[in-house]
């Protein structure tokens, strides 16, 4: 494919779809590092105008990453539904944007969008996002509804769930329990209580799983837990009889990225089967939990596509969602600000990427959550987190990550505080997952209207779970 576009009297030529997607991407440091970004704002505007003219069918005929050498591409194209694609098959990328916004404004938007999702490839979603403004990403993201369930039901209208993340630098069980208690008293954990283990020792992971399962049963909490070990560790733990609820894995948008994570499609299928075989869900059996993030492919040196050209990081991120949807996950979390300023330089780029990821994932039919976060070497601060949380809540994000006091003492970065989730739920009238909300009411953590106000330590019998004196 070759496209030419004239802007301001200057003619720009784009020699391939890969080049066009890269140059049409809103500015970010990772694409500049990869060498696929537009050289100036005018070239970017020209690329966006040229991309708007490209027919959606082009994405079915021109693979961004070669079919022969990449199993993610094979999965995406082999599982594409021509029937679902039919209503949008006549559209260009620009026409698709208009169509999405028009559908989003209708009362039956979520049904229509869900029906067309299997006909949308990740590359189509990425392409249209590049010519959408933040408000477009909010409007269409909000219109998509993706509901999943295990012991709680997630993604329902008017709800915002959280992953309670009680990490500890040495996986100390008492320390984890203290952070867990703090979070429960502030109404967190309806998406999952998920711990990033400090090491990859199966025994340490088993101990953490045991603790979470004990707490869940002792206090009859409708929640699912996860220790975010490597897939191979989790499969081993399932075989050893550990109380595994969710099966976690980091994934990326190319086969090479997944190789760097030590997984492939076959292993993921094995993990899904192992998780589902336990039948531990009560209101649903979505057992997979995936994490992704723009820049992971470049970081792994696995970001090249057709013609050996670098593919932009946002298109590759959307391809990770194309992989994820094969596994009907309970949760997909884009860890948007974690990777660092060489991929997303500042608060503006992080906020844009968070909205893009949420939109692309939802459009493809995934239960998207976002880790609203940043590292200390990025040009970002707590105000940027507040802004991103607010726009994501407006866009109907399924869940966000929360940690004590916004400070993850194990991973060394800032995410949302437990308090941040309370504030945004209250400001926007959002409630926790229904099963969890009922439990919070019984505990006195939420009031009769479902407003989560939190509970003092001394006033709750939960304090015993962390060994606090009564």
């Amino acid at each position: 494919m070759i496209a030419t576009q004239v802007v301001n009297g200057h003619s720009y030529q784009f020699n391939s779809l890969v080049e066009l997607l890269g140059k049409a991407s809103p500015k970010r440091s990772g694409d500049e590092l990869a060498g696929c970004a537009a050289s100036c704002e005018t070239e970017r505007a020209a690329a966006q105008a040229a991309l708007a003219e490209v027919d959606l069918t082009t994405f079915l005929n021109e693979a961004i990453v070669p079919y022969e050498s990449d199993e993610v591409t094979r999965l995406i194209l082999d599982s594409h539904s021509a029937d679902a694609f039919e209503p949008i098959s006549h559209l260009s990328v620009g026409g698709f944007r208009d169509w999405l916004l028009e559908i989003a404004a209708r009362p039956d938007a979520s049904t229509t969008l869900a029906a067309v999702a299997p006909g949308i490839t990740p590359e189509m979603a990425a392409a249209v996002s590049k010519i959408m403004r933040n408000s477009d990403l909010i409007a269409v993201g909000k219109a998509c509804r993706v509901v999943t369930a295990f012991r709680t039901t997630l993604g329902l209208s008017g709800r915002l769930a959280t992953r309670l993340q009680p990490n500890h630098p040495t996986d100390d069980l008492r320390g984890v329990a203290a952070s867990l208690l703090d979070g429960l008293l502030l109404g967190q954990g309806d998406a999952v209580v998920g711990i990033n283990p400090a090491g990859d020792s199966p025994q340490a992971s088993a101990d953490l799983l045991g603790l979470l399962d004990e707490v869940r049963q002792a206090y009859d909490i409708p929640m699912q837990s996860c220790v975010l070990s490597h897939l191979s560790t989790t499969i081993g733990l399932i075989e050893a009889g550990a109380p595994v609820d969710l099966v976690f894995q980091s994934i990326g948008g190319t086969q090479g990225t997944n190789t760097s994570f030590g997984v492939d499609l076959a292993m993921l299928r094995e993990g899904l089967a192992a998780g589902q075989s336990l039948g531990r869900g009560t209101v649903g059996n979505n057992v997979m939990y995936f994490e992704t993030g723009q820049g992971s492919s470049l970081s792994a040196g696995a970001n090249l596509g057709a013609g050996g050209r670098p593919v932009d990081q946002q298109t590759l991120e959307a391809r990770a969602y194309g992989l994820a949807r094969e596994f009907s996950p309970l949760l997909v979390n884009t860890v948007v600000g974690f990777i660092g300023p060489e991929y997303l330089y500042d608060g503006k780029q992080i906020i844009r990427a968070g909205l893009e990821d949420h939109f692309c994932g939802k459009l493809l039919g995934l239960p998207m959550g976002v880790d609203v976060c940043y590292t200390n070497h990025a040009e970002a601060d707590f105000d940027d987190l507040d802004t991103l949380l607010t726009v994501l809540a407006a866009a109907g994000v399924n869940f966000v990550i929360t940690v004590p006091g916004a400070d993850d003492v194990m991973l060394g970065y800032q995410s949302l505080s437990y308090h941040d989730a309370l504030v945004i739920r209250h400001a926007m009238g959002l409630k926790p997952a229904p099963e969890f909300e009922a439990w919070l009411k019984r505990q006195g953590i939420a009031d009769a209207y479902g407003t989560v106000r939190g509970l003092e330590l001394g006033a709750s019998r939960l304090r015993a779970l962390a060994g606090a004196a009564s």
Binding site: S179, G412, V423
Partner: protein, 256 residues
């Protein structure tokens, strides 16, 4: 609703015993649904310290006078191809390349030391000389040691270029680690045997979190480093195949 931080007033803080189990910011209290003023100000202060640590330029002259007392010969000062901090943060590839390798001595040394600002010049200013002193003291006196190289706006892999140019058998890169909210002056030491451009993280060993008194101490770090050096020399390579007996050999990818 509590508008006070826990433990204020007459009642003892019920969270106090739990706080001994984790550094996490638990039991912060609430102002309505938000964080109380004290907790917010404390977070802002921690963030300010961490952010300043990222952007504070390394005081090279002060470092050189500290190095002068170690008896390692005259230090050599280089810069990377990342001309300023903003470029450094965006372009890890440029931070891995010295601006010039002209005039570096090459004398087939066994061991070389490269001191890089990395993401925290504060860590280098506070801990590099003391760590290097402990390393020199722990080294086998038979080993021939190259004069130290100081490089600014640099990443770990800059040591590969420098090590190769100087003909060094094993290079140690002492580098400032990404500041966290709790610790902004943590130093890392990366060992690369037979340094050549193109080495990956999997071919290095790392000792991180050097920042006594809270973090790892100088002597303990040096003992591990020397242990790893011996292992690398015997094995003929560093990295994932080289296991360090104290279990601190994991690579942190944020500084690659």
């Amino acid at each position: 609703m509590s508008t006070l931080a826990p433990g204020s007033g007459r009642n003892p803080d019920p969270w106090a015993p739990l706080r001994t189990t984790t550094q996490a910011r638990i039991g912060l209290g609430r102002a309505g649904m938000s964080l109380p003023t004290a907790a917010v100000l404390e977070l802002q202060a921690s963030l300010a310290v961490a952010r300043d640590a990222v952007h504070l330029p390394l005081d090279v002259d002060a470092l050189l006078s500290g190095l002068a007392g170690l008896g390692l010969g005259t230090p050599i000062v280089l810069t990377s191809q990342a001309g300023d901090r903003s470029t450094y943060l965006r372009r890890p590839d440029l931070g891995r390349l010295p601006a010039s390798l002209d005039g570096l001595p090459n004398d087939g040394w066994d061991v070389g030391f490269v001191i890089a600002d990395g993401l925290s010049s504060k860590a280098v200013a506070e801990h590099a000389v003391a760590t290097l002193r402990a390393l020199v003291a722990a080294l086998d006196p038979e080993l021939r040691v190259a004069p130290p190289v100081v490089i600014t706006q640099a990443r770990v892999a800059a040591g590969d270029q420098i090590g190769q140019a100087m003909g060094v058998g094993t290079v140690f890169v002492l580098i400032g680690e990404r500041p966290g909210l709790s610790v902004a002056d943590s130093l890392g030491v990366y060992l690369t045997h037979n340094p050549i451009p193109g080495r990956t993280d999997a071919e290095r060993n790392c000792i991180s979190n050097i920042h006594p008194p809270q973090g790892l101490g100088y002597a303990a770090a040096a003992a591990t480093a020397v242990n790893l050096l011996r292992g690398a020399q015997e094995l003929g390579r560093s990295g994932v195949d080289l296991k360090d007996t104290s279990g601190m050999g994991e690579i942190k990818d944020s500084l690659d």
